[in-house]
């Protein structure tokens, strides 16, 4: 998963980034002003955007409006210091998906962020299941046939994204987009390393194969009977 933080207060942005990266294991990009934020949001695929309202250059509201006008459906969680009903309603009507007022609880922020992401991908709970494979976004654990499977953080992120996409075929480019933040050099061959690592751990012992390669298209996690 990859998240964009648009927040002019550097310290706050960095704290949130640290929290998201450490606790949820998402890739994070930070923009310190509205224009930067809009540019990043338009040119990258994010799973969610954390948006402050009082921003230099371009206000959070204007950013949100431009984003929605361009047809971007990325879930947006607004961080606001204003706490009145009217502006909250206005925000939600302008296309925000959720809001949190400052000062917020980091745990709540993370929980809301994760809920936003999974719901936008069509999951009602943080537990994704494909056949007998289970992934828990909260505890960041993977189980097959009830037994915990030990995966590396990067392998987890690959699997989390594949399973979140609900048995859809995910291209390598898309996968890379959602795994790494802006500053990473993107090499598609690292993906193959993670995928083969996952296969070794999940599709082992002659268990039915769940991770499939669709030639020329990408990868998909899918139950064997389908």
């Amino acid at each position: 998963m990859r998240v964009l933080i648009v927040e002019d207060e550097e310290r706050l942005a960095r704290n949130i980034e640290e929290g998201i990266a450490k606790v949820a294991g998402f890739a994070v990009d930070i923009a310190h002003d509205g224009e930067d934020g809009l540019h990043l949001a338009m040119s990258n695929e994010y799973d969610a955007i954390l948006l402050d309202l009082m921003l230099p250059q371009l206000s959070g509201k204007a950013l949100l409006a431009s984003l929605r006008r361009a047809g971007r459906k990325t879930p947006v969680l607004v961080l606001t210091a204003v706490e009145d009903k009217k502006s909250t309603v206005e925000l939600l009507n302008a296309g925000a998906d959720d809001y949190l007022s400052k000062p917020f609880d980091l745990g709540e922020l993370l929980a809301r962020l994760k809920a936003l992401i999974r719901r936008s991908q069509g999951h009602a709970t943080p537990r994704f299941t494909t056949a007998d494979l289970e992934l828990d976004m909260n505890t960041r654990t993977v189980r097959r046939k009830g037994a915990v499977i030990d995966v590396t953080p990067m392998e987890y992120r690959v699997l989390e994204y594949l399973m979140a996409r609900s048995e859809a075929v995910v291209s390598k480019t898309e996968l890379l987009e959602h795994l790494y933040d802006y500053n990473w050099e993107k090499f598609s061959n690292v993906l193959e390393v993670f995928i083969s690592g996952l296969r070794r751990k999940i599709d082992r012992d002659g268990w039915p194969k769940l991770i499939h390669t669709v030639r020329g298209h990408g990868y998909v996690v899918r139950g064997h009977k389908r």
């Binding site: 207060e9 706050l12 704290n15 949130i16 450490k22 009082m54 204003v82 745990g107």
Partner: protein
């Protein structure tokens, strides 16, 4: 406090004045009527006397009244020859007292009021004189009862008074109604004004009030007052909102820093680092709170009257900022001209002004740059203290807002340097408190200059004689 009504007051005054005028008119009119009445009465008296005179006969030197019936009953009369002999009437002669003769205008006889007149030494008609060489003249006294006259006069008084009272009542009613009608635009205005509150500042002077000469100034004054109030209110509201935003952000940072520490087991060094960060965040919050309180106190205080030497406050500020200047690799150059001048301004408050302005200039200076402080005397007994940096200057759209609270021209930079956009606002309110003014001059790309204008003061001689 007892409430008074303009309407009632106008009415009372109006009635009072009208009453006075009416009473004066009534009095004058009655006086005139009475005089006319008496004039007519007196004319009749004279007529009666002439009739009596014409009835006097001379028979062998004996004067007598030929036909006493010409005098109606109830009238009193007396004819006396110049010798003192009473000629007529023939009845008892003591009926008329001497006082009646002496003051015939008004007297009482047998319980009745009379008005009479006396003709003295009237020559007899010529044909009577020729007959006999009798005494040539007579005195005639004649009086008529005034009862009828008086009762008519009383009726007149009652009629006039009734008319006037009726007129006053009618006039009061009409005035009451007219005042209400005249005050209607005022009521409209009041009603329109009462519809306003802190949330709805829409105020339009009703057309009727604008068209009323007496109300137009009030309407204008109200409109202006409301515009000013609204601006002040909006400014305060924005300040509260901005202050709230800043405070919440500061707290959000602190909270998130601590919550990060709370999650997971960290190494000792990571904890230490976290605590350091939390401390940094706390310092930042403290700085914000201090600045806000300082701004509040500088805006609420009275204008200062103290006098200080410019160099005292300037050196204090420059010394305070030397570390920051060193860190940023910027030199502060102070020109020595006019530094010994006495200016109006509290030394501590001026030092705070220089500190804030210098801090701002330092933050906008490029490394290895210079912040120059120049003092020039200007016309009108003022000094211009110019603090100039060689930074990027200020964009035209930012210039009018540069002294506003929480305004940050270069947002991202201000964030990095830990500024809240309060420094220049504090400087402005402090300068104005010390009867000075402050402005920003800038050329984009060639730096900016804050000019603080202070009033030159005569040096104050302290008690021990030294110049202070």
């Amino acid at each position: 406090m007892k409430q008074t009504s303009i309407r009632r007051r106008i009415l009372i005054w109006f009635l009072l004045l009208q009453g006075v005028v009416a009473v004066c008119a009534l009095f004058g009119g009655l006086l005139y009527a009475r005089r006319q009445q008496l004039k007519a009465f007196d004319a009749e008296l004279r007529g009666r006397m002439s009739t009596v005179l014409s009835q006097i006969e001379n028979q062998n030197g004996q004067l007598s009244l030929s036909n006493p019936d010409v005098v109606p009953s109830g009238h009193l009369f007396l004819v006396r020859s110049s010798g003192g002999k009473i000629i007529a009437p023939n009845g008892p002669k003591d009926i008329i007292s001497d006082s009646a003769l002496h003051r015939p205008d008004s007297f009482t006889y047998q319980g009745k009021h009379y008005r009479g007149a006396v003709w003295r030494s009237i020559p007899l008609p010529e044909e009577e004189l020729e007959k006999q060489d009798a005494s040539a003249t007579v005195d005639i006294f004649y009086a008529m009862p005034t009862a009828l006259l008086d009762s008519r006069f009383r009726e007149l008084i009652i009629a006039a008074a009734t008319v006037i009272v009726a007129f006053l009542i009618l006039s009061a009613l009409m005035t009451w109604w007219a005042i209400a009608k005249g005050l209607a635009p005022l009521n409209d205005l009041a009603e329109r004004a009462s519809e306003m509150d802190a949330d709805s500042w829409r105020f339009e002077v009703p057309a009727q009030a604008t068209a009323t000469t007496e109300l137009a100034p009030l309407g204008n004054a109200l409109t202006q007052l409301i515009t000013r109030l609204k601006a002040a209110f909006d400014r305060e509201r924005r300040f509260v909102s901005d202050a709230g935003h800043e405070l919440k952000t500061a707290v959000a940072i602190q909270k998130s820093t601590l919550q990060l520490l709370e999650r997971g087991v960290l190494s000792v060094s990571a904890y230490k680092q976290g605590i350091e960060r939390a401390l940094e965040d706390t310092n930042r919050t403290e700085k914000l709170v201090t600045s806000m309180l300082r701004l509040a106190s500088s805006e609420s205080g009275r204008t200062s009257q103290s006098v200080s030497v410019l160099i005292d406050s300037l050196t204090a500020a420059v010394a305070d900022l030397s570390t920051m200047a060193e860190k940023l690799d910027v030199r502060i150059v102070v020109n020595n001209d006019h530094l010994q001048s006495h200016v109006i301004g509290d030394v501590d408050e001026l030092a705070m002004v220089w500190r804030n302005v210098l801090e701002n200039a330092l933050q906008h200076s490029p490394a290895e740059g210079e912040v120059r402080v120049d003092v020039q005397s200007a016309r009108g007994g003022v000094l211009d203290v110019c603090i100039a940096d060689a930074g990027p200057g200020i964009a035209a759209e930012d210039l009018p807002h540069i002294f506003e609270r929480f305004y940050r021209a270069d947002h991202s930079r201000a964030r990095k340097t830990g500024g809240f956009g309060l420094g220049l606002a504090i400087a402005k309110s402090l300068v104005e408190r010390n009867r000075g003014s402050i402005e920003m001059r800038t050329t984009l790309g060639r730096g900016a200059c804050v000019v603080v204008r202070l009033t030159i003061a005569a040096p104050k001689i302290s008690v021990n004689g030294s110049v202070h």
